[in-house]
């Protein structure tokens, strides 16, 4: 079911959403960067922007995520979950990020499910903005994560020029529209065709249709990547963990108790498999003491057939963030390319 909303009307729509819950959208800040932030007025929302470096996964999986609260009463303890299930709208995320959140939800739904994450995810409505003009570093078509989505969205907006095409993909999406139904009209056939054409044009923007995930996957999954290649590549990694922090499909974490005035909040905090201490055991033994071992681990998780079979998707949405944030030069395309060629570009 497709609708259309005139561009001027989006202000009213956002107003309505703000009445229903928290609205988080890309906002241009004073230092010129775009960041996903809570908005209190529709004019804060950015519509023409490059995808922010800081990913919106933090809305469902915050970098510091309170899970349970522990209170002490004399010699006795009480524990209770920290509830965060207020209604939220994530507005103007890109296709890759919508796909990323869907991926994370799949991870956290796996038995045993994580109620804390799911409370947030289930009360979050994702309104994504398809990419008419793909970003320069993105490679979303390599994993079916963009530039347009065919499923896995609550609402998908496409910029038609004077208006947005509005595709509703779920009940939550319907609910996001229904509160302001007077702003939306049915899309015409021409408008729907226009959206299809735009998707094709957007895909043509990418230089190569085929991607290298498949061949890299074959080699990684059958242990055919030489140790010497991992070693060489790992010299170009500075273990900053940025790739994990900004990646929409990374979700490694540690659990630590934060003390707060006589109580403790047990928090989930983002972690990185690239950090030496990630697998460091209390005894001092570390099965991945070398950087090359940790790098191998990262790309096995992202690109192996074993994980692909388990999850049904490759662990990368092609958003291109790791290319921008990598302190070294070991971003996804570079490593996948090296694995395919069997050697590292220098």
């Amino acid at each position: 079911m497709a609708f259309v909303i005139e561009k001027q009307a989006t202000t009213t729509w956002l107003q309505k959403l703000l009445e229903c819950g928290e609205v988080i959208a890309p906002v241009r800040g004073p230092c010129g960067d775009i960041l996903f932030s809570s908005v209190h007025s529709p004019d804060q929302v950015a519509w023409d922007f490059q995808n922010p470096l800081s990913p919106p996964k933090q809305v469902v999986l915050p970098q510091t995520d309170p899970l349970i609260k522990i209170t002490r009463n004399a010699g006795s303890y009480e524990v209770e979950p920290v509830y965060d299930d207020g209604r939220r709208f994530l507005f103007n995320v890109r296709s890759c990020d919508a796909k990323g959140i869907a991926f994370l939800t799949q991870m956290y739904e796996m038995e045993p499910a994580d109620a804390s994450y799911l409370r947030r995810a289930r009360s979050l409505t994702i309104i994504s903005l398809a990419c008419n003009k793909p970003c320069p570093l993105g490679f979303c078509i390599c994993s079916g994560s963009g530039p347009f989505l065919s499923e896995g969205y609550d609402v998908q907006l496409t910029d038609l020029g004077e208006s947005y095409l509005v595709e509703v993909g779920s009940e939550k999406g319907e609910a996001a529209i229904s509160g302001a139904s007077n702003l939306f009209r049915s899309a015409t056939e021409e408008e729907v065709s226009q959206r299809q054409r735009m998707e094709v044009e957007a895909k043509n923007h990418f230089e190569e249709e085929t991607c290298h995930f498949a061949s890299a996957m074959r080699r990684i999954s059958t242990g055919r990547v030489q140790d010497a290649l991992w070693e060489k590549m790992s010299d170009w990694c500075l273990e900053c963990g940025a790739c994990n922090m900004v990646c929409p499909t990374c979700y490694c974490f540690s659990v630590k108790d934060l003390s707060e005035d006589g109580t403790w909040i047990r928090c989930r905090i983002w972690d990185s498999c690239q950090y030496a201490a990630f697998t460091l055991e209390a005894s001092g033994h570390n099965p991945r003491a070398d950087r090359k071992q940790r790098m191998k681990r990262r790309f096995f998780h992202k690109v192996s057939a074993q994980y692909y079979q388990r999850d049904g998707v490759v662990g990368c949405v092609g958003c291109g963030r790791c290319i921008k944030v990598c302190l070294g030069s070991t971003d996804m395309p570079a490593v996948v390319g090296a694995i395919r060629k069997g050697k590292w570009n220098e």
Binding site: L35, P52, T64, A242, S254, W270, L280, S329
Partner: protein, 639 residues
């Protein structure tokens, strides 16, 4: 979800990022693509910058020690106690002093220095890291005066040649390592000098492997080789600098190897080059001379005059430069001008309306051992100064010790009065990075309990000693700084919002005075009875810095190491160990002319043969062996 742009508080690269907070509580970090230094990137420390503020053992209330136990007291009582005790000591003619901090802001360091010099009327003012970096600052200053052609981190990647005297750049300054990597990716020649085949060394076009203490010899050789090429090219730049005549004489006798000549080619032929010098903790005259030689090498290459080329002294901690510039440095006045600079003295006396004392004052390590009263700003000296735990013993003997900090440290536990101040994430202020870039800190959360902004507390202390009014905002402090330090004039224009920064006056046409008197190496080089050189590795222990120590993510490696090796360890080259049939974990007796110690060994394949290294964090366990040196010849035997 709110985002606050601020400057990274860890090393002196001065990256920027947004602190994220939810409902007033810090939650995480977001990178900034627009930031002039970090450009969207951050290292592991940056990504966890919010953690210590949240998870750390925070000082929440002023504490006064009564009957050996710290008791929470109101601010007024704590401040009165400090004022009273210090005045009593001063009246009794006992020496008092103050230590500024390489991790405190410019405003805090400035007010602290003013408090001590004008308020307490003492020049016993220093900061813990100063003695380590001063020789190199002086050495570079011997060549360039106060107009060092400082490189910008962002220009490194477009250089064709990079000369790096290590350190372990990938660990100490990841952002700089990143820029060097990009340069190498673009085809640049990287020349590394050091005793370890570090990550940077593996990426180099040429790694000049040297024993600790012999870096100067290599730099001197390189200098001579560059000189030869410049002679051939008849480059006018080489003739402009002072000291040229004596230089030409001295340089004749230096050995030029084929390797050095190749490196010199790369340096001279490159359109742009960067010269990176790590602070290796060698102290005294030798370090100074080596730094002067390094600066002379850069000067004679002709590069520093060119845009996109320059020198960088790799200071380890975020505000070492700021602490120097703000007057927290012994032997210097604000502006890091010489103590004897009469003009500067007059200016300050006028600004502060107080006459300044005329004796130089003690340096940090001496200060700790001799004062009767001491104020410490945001620092834990035993974890920073080379003398290590002996500094703690000295602190415990001080009659009156007051400490301002956000975090509980061992120094806080020795204090008679502890004042809680805001962490970097909870205060406004500025930091000066190693490029000379002054940038803002912005508060993203409120300090806990009754903690106050450090600058506020120091302004009150100043006022109670009759120096200036309690400042009402950091703007007031900044304005005063521009008057005390003319070089900081432009910082008043730092925009409120935005990644505005001010690059301190850099020179496009630096004058230089060639200074090269040759290298001497370590005091006690390897010999037949003591065939190895033991070196104290690095000059800074990140594991004990509160921003790392209290971060769950960052502290893991360090905690594990300390737990598994309560008596420390030394690293030995695997080749050397195999030749002696020594396996990893084996305890050995290491002995020098100064003394000996028994310690386990860890084997390393990246360590040059003949070198034994003790991490800076474990220097106390080898104190008897090292003596006053940072490197010395040793023998290794089974105990």
């Amino acid at each position: 979800m709110s985002a606050y742009p601020t400057t990274c508080p860890f090393c002196a690269c001065g990256c920027g990022f947004y602190l994220l907070s939810n409902n007033g509580q810090l939650a995480g970090v977001a990178p900034s693509e627009n930031h002039p230094v970090s450009g969207g990137k951050l290292c592991a420390r940056g990504w966890s910058a919010h953690e210590a503020t949240l998870w750390g053992d925070r000082l929440r209330r002023p504490l006064l020690r009564r009957n050996g136990k710290p008791e929470p007291v109101p601010w007024s009582e704590a401040l009165d106690s400090i004022t009273g005790r210090l005045q009593a000591l001063i009246s009794a003619g006992k020496p008092v002093g103050l230590l500024g901090s390489p991790r405190a802001s410019n405003e805090e360091n400035y007010l602290a220095a003013k408090f001590a010099r004008a308020g307490l009327q003492t020049n016993n003012v220093d900061f813990s890291y100063h003695s380590t970096c001063r020789p190199l600052l002086s050495g570079i200053g011997d060549v360039y005066g106060d107009r060092t052609p400082t490189a910008s981190i962002s220009t490194i990647e477009s250089c064709q040649t990079v000369l790096l005297v290590e350190g372990d750049l990938a660990k100490t300054h990841p952002r700089v390592a990143s820029a060097v990597m990009k340069a190498v990716e673009n085809g640049a020649h990287l020349i590394t000098v050091g005793y370890r085949t570090t990550q940077m060394a593996r990426l180099s076009s040429l790694h000049l492997s040297v024993l600790p203490g012999d870096e100067g010899e290599v730099i001197t050789g390189l200098l001579a080789a560059v000189f030869d090429l410049q002679q051939q090219n008849r480059t006018p730049a080489a003739a402009v600098g002072g000291g040229y005549e004596s230089f030409c004489q001295n340089v004749k006798n230096i050995k030029r190897t084929a390797e050095l000549q190749q490196a010199a080619e790369w340096i001279v032929r490159a359109p742009r080059a960067t010269f990176l010098l790590a602070v290796n903790g060698g102290h005294g005259d030798q370090s100074r001379k080596d730094a002067a030689t390094f600066a002379s090498l850069a000067a004679i290459s002709g590069h520093p005059e060119r845009p996109g080329s320059g020198l960088l002294l790799l200071l380890p901690r975020s505000n070492v430069r700021g602490a120097c510039d703000m007057g927290s440095a012994c032997g210097h006045l604000p502006g890091y001008v010489s103590f004897d600079d009469e003009k500067a003295r007059q200016r300050l006396q006028q600004l502060w309306s107080k006459k300044l004392p005329s004796d130089r004052g003690w340096e940090a390590e001496e200060l700790l051992q001799h004062v009767s009263g001491l104020i410490i700003l945001a620092d834990d000296p035993p974890s920073v100064v080379p003398m290590g735990q002996r500094a703690m013993a000295a602190l415990e003997k001080i009659e009156f010790l007051a400490v301002l900090d956000a975090f509980v440290t061992p120094t806080i536990r020795a204090a008679h009065v502890a004042l809680p101040i805001a962490s970097f994430a909870e205060t406004e202020g500025t930091l000066t990075n190693m490029e000379g870039r002054v940038q803002r800190l912005r508060a993203a959360a409120n300090p806990p309990g009754e903690a106050k902004a450090g600058w506020q507390v120091l302004a009150e202390l100043c006022s109670s000693f009759g120096v200036g009014d309690a400042c009402s905002s950091t703007k007031d402090v900044l304005r005063e700084i521009t008057q005390a330090v003319p070089r900081y004039a432009a910082v008043e224009q730092l925009p409120k919002d935005d990644w505005g920064d001010v690059l301190l006056e850099n020179s496009d046409n630096p004058d230089f005075q060639l200074d090269f008197t040759g290298s001497q190496g370590v005091a006690a080089p390897a010999c037949a009875e003591r065939p190895y050189v033991l070196v104290r590795e690095g000059s800074f222990d990140w594991g004990r810095d509160p921003l790392v120590y209290y971060s769950p993510t960052l502290s893991r490696d360090y905690q594990s190491e300390r737990k598994l090796f309560p008596n420390g360890f030394v690293e030995m080259s695997k080749r050397d160990a195999d030749a002696r049939n020594l396996s990893g974990g084996r305890r050995v007796r290491i002995a020098s002319a100064h003394g000996d110690a028994i310690v386990p060994i860890q084997l390393r394949t990246d360590l040059k043969a003949g070198v034994v290294s003790v991490p800076y964090a474990f220097r106390d366990h080898l104190a008897s062996v090292l003596g006053p040196d940072h490197a010395t010849a040793v023998s290794i035997e089974l105990p």
